[in-house]
C-alpha cells in the first residue's frame, strides 16, 4: 500500500530538502508501508533512543549519525537515550576488564558528541527509564511517540497510555527528526486490542520478572489482557508502576510485547474494560506451577553452576526512587538477621542519573552505601558485554539481563539472600 503524503512530506521524499533528509523519509515511508500505514502522523513529546553506546565496531552507525549531522539535521525536541556503558568508580572491574571496556567502548566520547549534535537533552539524559518523573521524559495518555528501548516502549504504551510502536534503533531517531511516524500497529485503536487473555491464578503476588517472562514467551508480539493481577496491585500507585515496569521489561525481552493491559489497573483497561479484548482471543492460565516451570526452564550459562557469585546486579530496567529506598531497607534488615555488617557479594544497584541525584539527598543513600552496596547509572547489560565478564558468575533479579547475558536469574528474595547471607 502506498502512503498518502502531504505536499511537504512528498517534497522531502523527492529530495527537495536534501539527500540525507530524503533518505530519512524514504526509510520511514518504506518501513511504514510494510505494515500498511496509509500516512504519517505527528509525534507529540520528546524522543527516546536505544543506542547509547559507542562500540568501536559500529562504524555503520557512526557513519549514519555523521551524515545526519553534516546535513544539519537535528531532532525537533531534545531526546533521552539509554544508559552509558561504563562506570569504573562504582562497578567493580579488574584492570584487564577496564582496559577491554575502554577499547570496546572506545568511541563513547565521539558518539556522545554525535548525540549532542543531534539534540540530546543533557548529560544526565542516559537511562532506560526516561519516563521516571525525575528524568522528565514522561508522555501523557494518547501522546504519539518515536521511541525505541523495549522496556520504555512497553511502559509508555501500557502504564502511561501513550502510543508507540516497538521501533528499532534509527527509526526512533528518524521519527524524532521528522516529527512524524508511520501510522500503524500500536498507534491505532485496532492494534491495541488484546488477542490473549492472561488468567493469573497464583496463590500469592507473582514475581513480576517471572510473570512478564512467562507472558512474553507465550504471546511473543501479541497484546495480552491480564486478569487476576488487580487483586495484588489494587491501584496504579508508585509500587504498582515499579512492578509493571519490571514485568513489562521481562515480557518485552523474553518475547516482543509492546503493550499489555491489566484489568482495572492500566489506563485503557480502566476506561474500556473487556471491550479491549479482540474476538477469537486465546487464553493462557498462569498459576504457581506454571511460574515454577518457566523459572526452571532458564538455562544456567556459568562454567561452574555452583560457583560463588562474584557480582549481583539489581535494576535492569533502572530502579525507581521508591525501589532504591525499598532495596536499602531490605538489605539492612536482612544483614541484621544474618549478623553480617556488609553485603557478602559485590552488589550494584542501577538507576537513572537524575534519580540517583535525588536519592543522594535522602538519608537512605548513606545507609545503602554503609551496607557495602554500590549505586551506578550504567546499563548492566553493556557491562556484561565485555568478553572479560563472560566467565564471571553474576547474579541478577532482572529477566532482561538474564536473557542477553550469562547472568544467573534469581527472584528478588533469592538475590537478597545471596548478597546478605551468602545464600545460606
Amino acid at each position: 500500500m502506498a502512503m498518502k503524503l502531504t505536499s511537504q512530506e512528498q517534497e522531502i521524499l523527492d529530495g527537495k530538502q536534501g539527500k540525507t533528509l530524503q533518505k530519512v523519509m524514504r526509510t520511514l515511508v518504506r518501513y511504514g508501508e510494510l505494515f500498511g500505514a496509509d500516512r504519517l502522523i505527528d509525534v507529540k513529546g520528546s524522543g527516546h533512543l536505544v543506542t547509547s553506546f559507542g562500540i568501536s565496531l559500529m562504524t555503520a552507525t557512526f557513519d549514519v549519525m555523521q551524515e545526519l549531522i553534516d546535513a544539519g539535521l537535528k531532532t525537533q525536541q531534545p531526546f533521552t537515550v539509554d544508559p552509558r556503558p561504563i562506570d569504573n568508580k562504582n562497578v567493580p572491574s579488574g584492570v584487564i576488564q577496564k582496559i577491554v571496556a575502554s577499547i570496546m567502548y572506545g568511541k563513547q566520547k565521539e558518539y556522545e558528541s554525535q548525540l549532542k549534535a543531534l539534540g540530546l537533552k543533557d548529560d544526565n539524559a542516559f537511562t532506560c527509564a526516561c519516563y521516571l518523573p525525575q528524568v522528565g521524559n514522561t508522555p501523557g495518555k494518547g501522546d504519539v511517540l518515536s521511541w525505541a528501548e523495549s522496556s520504555a516502549v512497553v511502559y509508555a504504551n501500557s502504564v502511561l497510555g501513550a502510543r508507540c510502536n516497538r521501533n528499532s534503533a534509527f527509526i526512533d531517531l528518524f521519527g524524532s527528526i521528522l516529527g512524524k511516524v508511520p501510522y500503524f500497529g500500536l498507534l491505532t485503536d485496532e492494534g491495541r486490542k488484546a488477542t490473549w487473555v492472561i488468567d493469573v491464578r497464583c496463590t500469592e503476588k507473582p514475581e513480576a520478572q517471572i510473570l512478564g517472562s512467562a507472558i512474553g514467551l507465550k504471546v511473543v508480539e501479541d497484546v495480552p489482557y491480564i486478569k487476576g493481577l488487580d487483586k495484588y496491585l489494587h491501584s496504579l500507585d508508585d509500587s504498582s508502576r515499579a512492578y509493571l515496569k519490571d514485568m513489562g521489561a521481562a515480557a518485552a525481552s523474553n518475547g516482543a510485547v509492546g503493550l499489555y493491559h491489566v484489568e482495572n489497573i492500566t489506563p485503557e483497561a480502566v476506561d474500556q474494560g473487556e471491550s479491549l479484548i479482540a474476538e477469537g482471543y486465546k487464553i493462557y492460565v498462569i498459576d504457581d506451577a506454571e511460574l515454577e516451570r518457566v523459572k526452571k526452564s532458564y538455562p544456567v550459562m556459568w562454567k561452574d553452576e555452583n560457583a560463588k557469585p562474584a557480582l549481583a546486579f539489581i535494576g535492569c530496567p533502572h530502579l525507581t526512587l521508591a525501589q532504591l529506598t525499598e532495596w536499602t531497607e531490605k538489605i539492612e534488615e536482612s544483614l541484621k538477621i544474618s549478623g553480617n555488617k556488609k553485603v557478602v557479594v559485590n552488589t550494584v544497584l542501577c538507576s537513572a542519573p537524575d534519580v540517583i541525584a535525588e536519592f543522594k539527598e535522602k538519608p537512605e543513600y548513606s545507609r545503602l552505601i554503609a551496607t557495602g552496596a554500590k549505586l551506578t547509572y550504567i546499563c548492566p547489560l553493556m557491562y556484561m558485554n565485555n568478553p572479560k565478564c563472560k566467565t564471571m558468575p553474576v547474579i541478577t533479579c532482572s529477566n532482561k539481563l538474564r536473557t542477553y547475558t550469562c547472568a544467573k536469574y534469581g527472584t528478588e528474595d533469592d538475590i537478597l539472600n545471596q548478597i546478605t547471607k551468602g545464600g545460606e
Binding site: T27, L34, V50, S150, V220, P387, T403, Y404
Partner: protein, 150 residues
Amino acid sequence: MAEVKVFHGRPVIPGNISAPALVTHTGFNTLASFQKALLAKNADAVCSDQNNAELFNKKMAGTALCLPQTIGSTTGGLVIHTACDMGANPACMLFSKQIDSLAAAGVVMADVWSKNRIIAVDGLGDDFLNYVKDGMNITVSDDGTVTVEA
C-alpha cells in the same frame, strides 16, 4: 531426485539468491544471536543466543535464515544493519509470519543506507517453517517465490 517444494511470500527486500537453510521455530532474538559475533568481529556470525537451542553456536552468515519473526531488544534493526555492513549477515531472511517492526527497520536501513543489502521475504506461512530443515537448499526469487530442495 531431490524433493522440491515451492512457497510464495511477499518480497520485502526483493532479490535472487541461493543459500543453505538455517531454521528457528521460535522467535529470533536478533541482539542475543548476533551480540558475540559483532563484538568479536566474527564474520561467520556464530549464534550466541543461549535461549535458542536450534541456533546456538551455529554459523548464521551466508545462510537462508528461516524464522517466524524476530524478538527482543529494539536495537534489533541496528544489529541487522551493522551485520550487513560487516558482511556477517545471513544471505536472506525468510519469515513465516509478517515481518516484525525491528527486522523491518533493519532490512530497510541496510537497503537505504548500506552498500550491502539483505534479501527478505515474509508471509511464507506455517507450512514453510514446518517443512524446511537445516541445510536444505533454498532458492529465493525476486517475486517472493521460495524454492526448498530437500
